[in-house]
Every structure is written in structure tokens, then in C-alpha cells.
């Protein structure tokens, strides 16, 4: 039971932070299918920085990990600038832009990983080995039954994500900027008429999405895969999009969807273990979140409403 909660959370939270980024972007009216690519590029930047500075720190130092998070954050932001440029400045089709960015991120980072490994580290490898970050247990509260599991064996990124999520919620729903952002996704003409620059608000929203996706990416790199390689592109970005759609583009319900995905996955692993099935069945468990996505599509697909102006290029003159 505890393992399910511990592993479920460590999968759900990075997913959640990416989904929050997606919510920012889509609530501002910009479709974001690029989360997958953004998290990969962010993870690449963070991982590259981490392996570069690793020699200067002791093996168990947490500093490289935190610095990697910062750089993943910046890397994701930088890469999302591309999406913002295409969608806002050049009024390109937002779906195509997102898909292209995903493909570009994947091939670009794989190429660069190989080249950098060969030229700097003199090794023929297509991955940056990071290892799994050290985990912490909060003393005292972790011994509470069931609930305690939430505070047991935490990855250091989990509290960081929780903090950012709270701030993101507060900004989106309580501040004037959040009001402007959500209005841009419903009726940008009204925002424009109120004297606010739609393009600027959307630019910030896309960049936030890039930053948070990058953050989510490096968290996966430091936990599930323990390295950076093209394995990072295994669809978590798309899963985050599914989560925010089931969450009806709202932060709290999206958390629910992410937790569901996380627990489905960790619960499945546990089941494989209990039933003593061959380990190859674990791959089958990987499928669970996606099967769940399909099922939820059937039930939630019709009830949820996307932001009214989502994906519509803002044109001042249009009636």
C-alpha cells in the first residue's frame, strides 16, 4: 500500500507540474501539444549541466540536482519561445507548431547528446547518466498510518513541485494577471478592449508552460529513468495534456487526474509483484495510464469545455 502511494506520487507530481504549465498556456488561448518536446528539451539542458558540473561535487551532493532543476526550467522556457514565436508573432497553426516542436526536440537532443558525449566526455553514448536523486523521509509525520506514506521516501523535487503548484494556483485565480490570462482564452477582444496586450499575456503563458514542462522533464530524468536519453520521450507530455483535459482546464481537478494516473501505474507494478508475474509484464503496466485515458475520454469527453478561444489566432480586425 505504502509503495503504491510513494511511487504513485513521484510519478504524478512531475506530471502535474507539466499539466499546470499546459493549463496556463491553454487558458490563455494557445493550444499546447508541445509539452512532450518541452519537457525533453528542458531535461536535456538540466542533465547536460548536471553532468558538466558533477566532477566538482561529491557523489552524494544534492547541489547538482537543484542546479539541474534550474537549468531545466530555463531550457524549457527557451525552447517554448519557439512555440510562442510561431503561434503569437507569426500566427502559425498552433497544432502543427506543437507537433513540430516535439519532433524537433527529440531529434535535436538525441543528436546533441551523442555529439557532446563523443567530443567532451570521449565516450560513445547516447545518454547522460544522472542516477536517482537521494530520497528523504520527514521524521515524525511519516509514521502516521497511510497518510505517512505521503511523507516517506520523498524525492527532493516533490516539495518543490508542491510549492510551485500552490503559487501557480494563486497567480491564476487570485491576481489581476491571472484574470487577464484566463480572459485571453475566452474572449481576447475583450482583453484588448480593456487595454491589455493579448500577445504579451499569451507570451508569458507559453513561457510558463515551457518552464514548468522543463521542470517536469528533469524530475522524470532523475527518478524513473535515472539518465537522460531519448527514453525521456515516452509520452508523459501527452499524458499531462490528457490530465488537464480531464481536469477541465482547472488546476485542482487536474491534480486529481494526475494522481489517478500515478496510482494506476504504481498499483499495476505492485500487482505484477504480488501475482509474481514475469517482469516482462511490467511493460504491460506502463500501458495502464493510457488505457485509463481512453476510458476517461468516453466518460468526460463530452462534459468538459475547452477555453472558448483555444487555438484561435487572435486577429484584431475579425468580427
Amino acid at each position: 500500500m505504502n509503495t503504491i502511494i510513494i511511487d504513485g506520487l513521484s510519478f504524478a507530481l512531475p506530471l502535474f507540474i507539466m499539466a499546470i504549465g499546459g493549463i496556463y498556456c491553454e487558458r490563455s488561448g494557445v493550444t499546447n501539444l508541445a509539452i512532450e518536446g518541452l519537457q525533453g528539451f528542458g531535461a536535456f539542458c538540466g542533465a547536460l549541466f548536471a553532468v558538466c558540473i558533477a566532477p566538482y561535487f561529491a557523489g552524494d551532493s544534492p547541489v547538482p540536482f537543484y542546479l539541474a532543476m534550474v537549468f531545466a526550467f530555463l531550457g524549457g522556457t527557451l525552447f517554448s519561445l519557439l512555440h510562442a514565436m510561431l503561434c503569437i508573432r507569426f500566427k502559425a497553426n498552433q497544432v502543427i507548431s506543437g507537433v513540430v516542436i516535439n519532433i524537433l526536440a527529440m531529434s535535436l537532443t538525441e543528436f546533441m547528446t551523442k555529439q557532446i558525449n563523443a567530443s567532451i566526455f570521449k565516450a560513445a553514448s547516447n545518454k547522460f547518466v544522472l542516477g536517482v536523486s537521494a530520497r528523504v523521509t520527514v521524521p515524525g509525520i511519516s509514521s502516521v498510518p497511510v497518510l505517512g506514506a505521503v511523507f516517506t521516501n520523498l524525492y527532493p523535487f516533490e516539495p518543490v513541485i508542491a510549492l510551485i503548484a500552490v503559487i501557480a494556483w494563486y497567480v491564476l485565480y487570485r491576481t489581476p494577471f491571472g484574470l487577464h490570462l484566463r480572459a485571453c482564452g475566452d474572449n481576447p477582444h475583450a482583453v484588448d478592449a480593456a487595454g491589455i496586450e493579448v500577445g504579451k499575456v499569451r507570451l508569458i503563458a507559453v513561457l510558463v508552460s515551457g518552464a514548468l514542462s522543463g521542470l517536469g522533464g528533469i524530475c522524470f530524468a532523475y527518478s524513473i529513468s535515472a539518465n537522460f536519453s531519448s527514453n525521456i520521450y515516452s509520452g508523459y507530455g501527452y499524458l499531462a495534456i490528457a490530465a488537464l483535459i480531464f481536469g477541465n482546464w482547472k488546476i485542482l481537478p487536474t491534480l486529481g487526474a494526475c494522481l489517478l494516473f500515478g496510482f494506476a501505474r504504481s498499483g499495476g507494478y505492485e500487482l505484477v509483484k504480488i501475482l509474481e508475474m514475469p517482469s516482462s509484464y511490467q511493460d504491460l503496466v506502463m500501458v495502464l495510464p493510457y488505457v485509463l485515458t481512453l476510458l476517461m475520454l468516453v466518460f468526460f469527453g463530452r462534459k468538459n469545455h475547452s477555453p472558448r478561444a483555444l487555438g484561435v489566432i487572435y486577429d484584431k480586425g475579425a468580427r
Binding site: 491576481t175 484574470l179 484566463r182 484588448d192 491589455i196
Partner: protein
């Protein structure tokens, strides 16, 4: 220093293919209600868009409070205390009224000196106070998508007032309102004037101008025709100046010559999306050469009735017969081919494909037949030839002729295009739903003439209108619908407008039964 608050001198504005304003000069005094009168496409909205900073004039100057200004954007106009209520409201549908109004100038409260949040409570209080001051009756906590058009419009007014506008521009404010709501709006405008605001009213409705405006500038095809003192001018003169020729309000209509029965509706029952019966057991018939007008207050099932005959809604009971053939369950295209022309109420969503060209829209109901298609290949030149012919015949005005994207055309010309397309089908039955809604006098006159012309040719016409005048002017037979039932069917000559009005309210014929 002049005593005018606004002066627009020698303004010229050109758009591709059209001169929207041609050397127009107007002067507005502080505290007056100044009306801009003109047909659709006369250049009223363009002129005001320049005052509000949405376009820049090609020539001419704008002087506000004695100072020459170049208004670069709506924000700049707002800083000059100019506000505008557009025809299409600019509201965020899932926000409260207060949130919509304060957006961009939010009252903010600080937590621990750093965290800024939107002060919802103060916003609500400020809006409520403003609403009470001008008698707007707006509850700031309601959400936009749950309130009606009239209240949405008042939200737009509050938006201007919240930004301390002194000069208020209203673009066709009454086009979307019911008669009671229009009364209310005019009262609000009066109270704004009492508070010292200057009001510019863009409209083509003469009665409203007569009722509240002080002066009235008349525009026709981009040119300023005259500026009149409203008290000293009668509506007939205004109408003639606006259209540029003598206007004929009444319709010349010869005695009807009825042919055979074309449309027969028996015990028709229609449900709406919520499975609620909106048309109940309705029976009537329309003969060739007859205009059958359905009169009724909005929302009594008349639109659903027309939709059911045209095939847009499936009837849940009863039958529809066209030229002796049962079409109750026929597909829409087979009804069209059988002889139904339909001019729907919702022009932009049902009547036209807004982003296609005029020529494509004009061929929308026969593109699959020769000469427009040969086999399964479309013949482009036939489209153009056909649409050029119709543009000429029906006087459809547009920037680039056949190639014009319909969205860029004015409402009146969009309606002309639909009517041209439907009449050219040469169907035995024509259904007109609210054919003149939102149109100006010249266009209304033209459409009425065409309806009568079709009737004289022996076509059956089913007319659905909320305007009692229109029903009384055109109908040979009147059917009054109330709460989904046809309450009364009679020869138009035997009913007075007052009697029809009573049936429309569901109280007609009470004394007969008693």
C-alpha cells in the same frame, strides 16, 4: 476656443474598393445627444471607429475639447474619456459582470505588503454603486453567459462609465433589443445625458432619433448629406435624405389570386433539444399566390415551426405535405429540390458560410447540378457568371464582387445575397423568417417588394415575423402563434393590429367564448 467637445473635420477614409467616408465633417456639443443616421454601409460605424482610435483617417483632423489629437488606439481614446459600445459585445463569457468591468483597472488589495490580489469585494461594491447611480439594474456578481443581451449591453455601458468616459458612442444599440428593452435603454441614455455626458448614437431607426436625439447627421454612401435639428424635422424627410430618394412606407399589393394548395401542415408537433414541446398540434395550409404570415411574440415556437417545415428540426408528430407529397421525414436536400426556399433567421450560422466567397455562397444550393458541376467536377467559371448576374440583379454591394468573403460584407448585403440565392431557386414555397431584422429602411422596402413580387408570381410564401407592422403590411392570411399553438387563423383584412396583438399575448378571443 469653440464650444464643441468633438470636431471631426474633412475626414476621408478609404478601404480596398470603397470610400467609406468622403470629406465628412461633424461637430458635437458637450451634453447633447447626437445621432448619426444612415443605411447599412453608409459609413457611420467607420466614422466612429476613427473617433475611437480603431482606424486612422486618411485625411482630415480630429479635435477633442479644442485640442487637435491623433487617436492611435482604443486605449488612447479611453484616456481621452471616449467610450464605445460596439454592436458585438466584448465580454468574457465565463466571468462575472464585475470582473468584466474592472479588467485592466482592477482594484487590488495587498497581503503582507507584497502579494497582490484582485479585490473582488471592492469591485462588486463599486460596480453596484455605479449601476444604481444611472439606474442600470445590474447585479455585479452574475456571470455573463447567464444574463440576457440587454443586460450584457448595460455591462458594456458600465465598462465605459467605470473608465470615466465623458463621450459615449453607441453603435446600433437597439438592433438586438426587444421593444421594452429599447424603452429602458433610451431612459438610461437620458439619465446619462442629465449627468452631463455627451452621447453619439449610431442608428438607422428613425423613431429612436425622434424620441431622444437633439441633432442628427445624415450619411449616405460615405458622404455627409445634412445635419438636422431633430425637433424641426419629420421622420419622412429624414428617411428620404438617408436613402437618397423618396421612400415608400406602405407596400403596393394587388388583390390576391389564390392558386392550388402548396404547403399543408397537419397536427404538427415539434420538440426542442430539451424534449420540450415548442410547437403543439399546429395545422394550416398555404396556397400559391398567398402570403401566410405567422405573427407572435419571440419564443412562442414560430422559428421551430419554420425549421420543421424546412427540415432543420425533426417533427415528433403530425405531417407536412408539399405539392401533394408527404415530406414529413424527407431529407433537407430533397425538400429543397421538391421546392422549398428558406431564408433563415440566423443568417450568419444557418444562411451563409461566412468565410467562403460570395459566388460560392450564391451557388450553395445548386452547386451539385449543371451548369455548376459536370459529373463530379466543379466548374468555377459557371459560379462567377451566375454570381455576377445575381449581384447585378439584386444590387448586392461588396468590396470585391464575386470574390468578396461574405464575412466582410454588411448585414444588409448578406441578407440580400441569401434572398437572391433562395428566390433564384424558383421554388414553389418560400419561407422567410425575420427577413428584415436589423436592416435599414431602404433594404426593408426592397425586401418587402420582393416578397410581394414572388407572391404575385403565384408562389406560396410563409412569413414569420416579430414585427407586427410587417405582418399587417404584407399578409394575405394571418396565423397568430402563442405558446406553440396557432390561436387564430384569419384573412388579413378581417383583423385589426390590436386584435392580432391580443392573440399574440394569449388573451385574444376571450370575450367570444365568454
Amino acid at each position: 476656443m469653440s464650444d464643441y467637445i468633438i470636431e471631426m473635420n474633412h475626414i476621408t477614409k478609404r478601404f480596398p474598393g470603397i470610400v467609406a467616408n468622403d470629406d465628412v465633417s461633424i461637430q458635437v456639443k458637450k451634453g447633447e445627444i447626437y445621432a448619426l443616421l444612415g443605411e447599412n454601409g453608409a459609413g457611420k460605424s467607420t466614422l466612429m471607429s476613427m473617433l475611437f482610435g480603431m482606424y486612422e483617417p486618411d485625411e482630415g483632423e480630429i479635435i477633442i475639447r479644442g485640442e487637435k489629437v491623433k487617436i492611435a488606439s482604443p486605449n488612447h481614446a479611453t484616456r481621452l474619456n471616449i467610450g464605445m459600445v460596439h454592436q458585438h459585445f466584448k465580454l468574457v463569457s465565463n466571468y462575472t459582470i464585475a470582473e468584466n468591468i474592472v479588467m485592466g483597472m482592477e482594484p487590488v488589495k495587498k497581503h503582507f505588503g507584497i502579494f497582490k490580489t484582485l479585490d473582488q469585494k471592492r469591485a462588486n461594491e463599486e460596480i453596484r454603486a455605479l449601476s444604481e447611480k444611472f439606474g442600470l439594474e445590474v447585479d455585479p456578481t452574475k456571470v455573463i453567459e447567464n444574463i440576457n443581451v440587454s443586460m450584457q449591453q448595460r455591462v458594456e455601458i458600465l465598462k465605459m462609465l467605470y473608465r470615466e468616459a465623458e463621450i459615449l458612442i453607441f453603435d446600433e444599440p437597439t438592433a438586438v433589443l426587444t421593444p421594452q428593452e429599447i424603452e429602458f435603454l433610451l431612459e438610461i441614455i437620458e439619465s446619462l445625458r442629465r449627468d452631463g455626458k455627451t452621447i453619439i448614437l449610431i442608428t438607422h431607426k428613425l423613431e429612436e432619433i425622434k424620441k431622444i436625439a437633439d441633432r442628427c447627421a445624415i450619411l449616405c454612401r460615405g458622404k455627409l448629406i445634412d445635419v438636422l435639428d431633430v425637433k424641426e424635422t419629420d421622420t419622412k424627410t429624414m428617411a428620404n435624405l438617408m436613402v437618397g430618394r423618396e421612400v415608400n412606407f406602405s407596400v403596393d399589393k394587388p388583390e390576391p389570386e389564390y392558386g392550388r394548395e402548396i404547403l399543408k401542415v397537419e397536427h404538427l408537433t415539434v420538440q426542442n433539444e430539451d424534449k420540450f414541446e415548442v410547437v403543439k398540434d399546429v395545422s394550416f395550409s398555404v396556397r400559391g399566390g398567398e402570403i401566410f404570415a405567422v405573427a407572435g411574440v419571440s419564443g412562442n415556437g414560430q422559428v421551430e415551426l419554420a425549421d420543421a417545415v424546412a427540415g432543420l428540426l425533426k417533427p415528433s408528430g403530425g405531417s407536412i405535405t408539399l405539392n401533394g407529397k408527404d415530406i414529413t421525414h424527407a431529407a433537407i436536400r430533397s425538400r429543397n429540390l421538391e421546392g422549398i426556399s428558406y431564408i433563415p433567421e440566423d443568417r450568419q450560422n444557418v444562411g451563409l458560410v461566412m468565410d467562403l466567397s460570395l459566388s460560392d455562397n450564391l451557388a450553395l444550393k445548386n452547386y451539385f447540378m449543371p451548369p455548376f458541376s459536370r459529373g463530379s467536377v466543379i466548374a468555377g467559371e459557371a459560379f462567377t457568371r451566375y454570381s455576377d448576374e445575381l449581384i447585378e440583379k439584386y444590387d448586392i454591394r461588396s468590396g470585391q464582387g464575386s470574390e468578396t468573403v461574405v464575412r466582410s460584407m454588411s448585414g444588409g448585403n448578406q441578407q440580400k445575397a441569401i434572398i437572391a440565392r433562395e428566390i433564384e431557386l424558383d421554388s414553389s414555397l418560400l419561407i422567410f423568417v425575420q427577413p428584415t431584422r436589423g436592416l435599414d429602411i431602404g433594404a426593408i422596402e426592397n425586401i418587402h417588394r420582393q416578397i410581394v413580387e414572388q407572391r404575385n408570381k403565384g408562389k406560396a410564401v410563409l412569413l414569420i415575423s416579430l414585427e407586427l407592422d410587417e405582418v399587417m403590411n404584407l399578409a394575405d392570411t394571418i396565423g397568430v402563434i402563442y405558446n406553440g399553438r396557432i390561436e387564430k387563423i384569419a384573412d388579413a383584412g378581417t383583423l385589426t393590429p390590436g386584435e392580432v396583438g391580443e392573440f399574440m399575448m394569449g388573451v385574444g378571443g376571450r370575450h367570444e367564448k365568454a
